[in-house]
Symmetry: C2
Amino acid sequence: MPRLVDHAERRSSIIETTWQVIADRGIENASMRDIARECGYAAPGILAHYFPNKTALLLASYELICQRTNERIAESTVGKRGLTALRSLCMEIIPAEDLTTVEAKVAVSFWQRAQSDEALRRVGRDALSHWHAEIMGCLAEAQTDTPTGRPADPDLFTDELLNTMMGLHITAMLDPYAMSGSRQRRLIETMLRRVCVSDAS
Amino acid sequence: MPRLVDHAERRSSIIETTWQVIADRGIENASMRDIARECGYAAPGILAHYFPNKTALLLASYELICQRTNERIAESTVGKRGLTALRSLCMEIIPAEDLTTVEAKVAVSFWQRAQSDEALRRVGRDALSHWHAEIMGCLAEAQTDTPTGRPADPDLFTDELLNTMMGLHITAMLDPYAMSGSRQRRLIETMLRRVCVSDAS
């Protein structure tokens, strides 16, 4: 079915162009016509065939980013478990590298729209739940491997880690010098070290 | 100078209406004409006299929120110091109550635009720096009062606390049931307790 394959590929290609538009100038500064032009379509109608409006395009952009992030997490944690796997997971989510910085910009644009759109909120919530379960899994492995290697309250630790990673999407964007990639990694390392020493709190 | 007072009051009143519009339906779903109507102005020109465009209005809305938050922090920390003051500070920032939830929505809308506007980013950065300094001050007081009452690396702890609080703006919006007000308070309490027991990490 060559036409279906072509449709999916073209869809991905539009989304990747959209990521760049969001990263360069913000989605609110680009019309569907502008994005169509960036994609190389003379008529914006072609874009509308794939995505009826900006919200649909932003939703698809965010979904593909979550999917790609999860694929990278799966790749980078192959053969790893416990805290080693958890460290790799965090590195694919925090905006400490060029790729994850672009992804973070799309996420922030998406979150802004999710505020007034329940369907978008659900997608954002699903991504958080998925990561929450993965982090809890890593913490359970850490405990199996080292009986003290797990925080007193894994669920609370997971929330703290997730909130810190989401917060980095904001602080690294507002202040990329203070919240540099190395600073972000150090913050995550410090949090993970608390698991190793068995947080008594 | 009655005219000046009137100008400032009307400006605040426009901003407060804008907060409500952002909280109810998102700023991207409201035109300047819509906001003017919500303010009770028949002609959108009156609004433009105060704010030339949505970005200017959003900037002013965010600035007033930071100012009000800081006023509340000043009030709620009167006569307090150290961790007691720090706890009060956090409670005015996290979106655990109705008022701070509305403020968080304005902040998320603001952050989205700040991504492609250096002037907005600077304002966001200033708010973070201000809170960072206040938190460091509380931690220094905690150490003076109890020599062990301070984390090994106060600067890193401050970043962790700030990132968690910014992250809560996102997670509580996406999943208000999982990240309820009481859950948010518990998260902050757990972090502050680590200071009391002198975080060994």
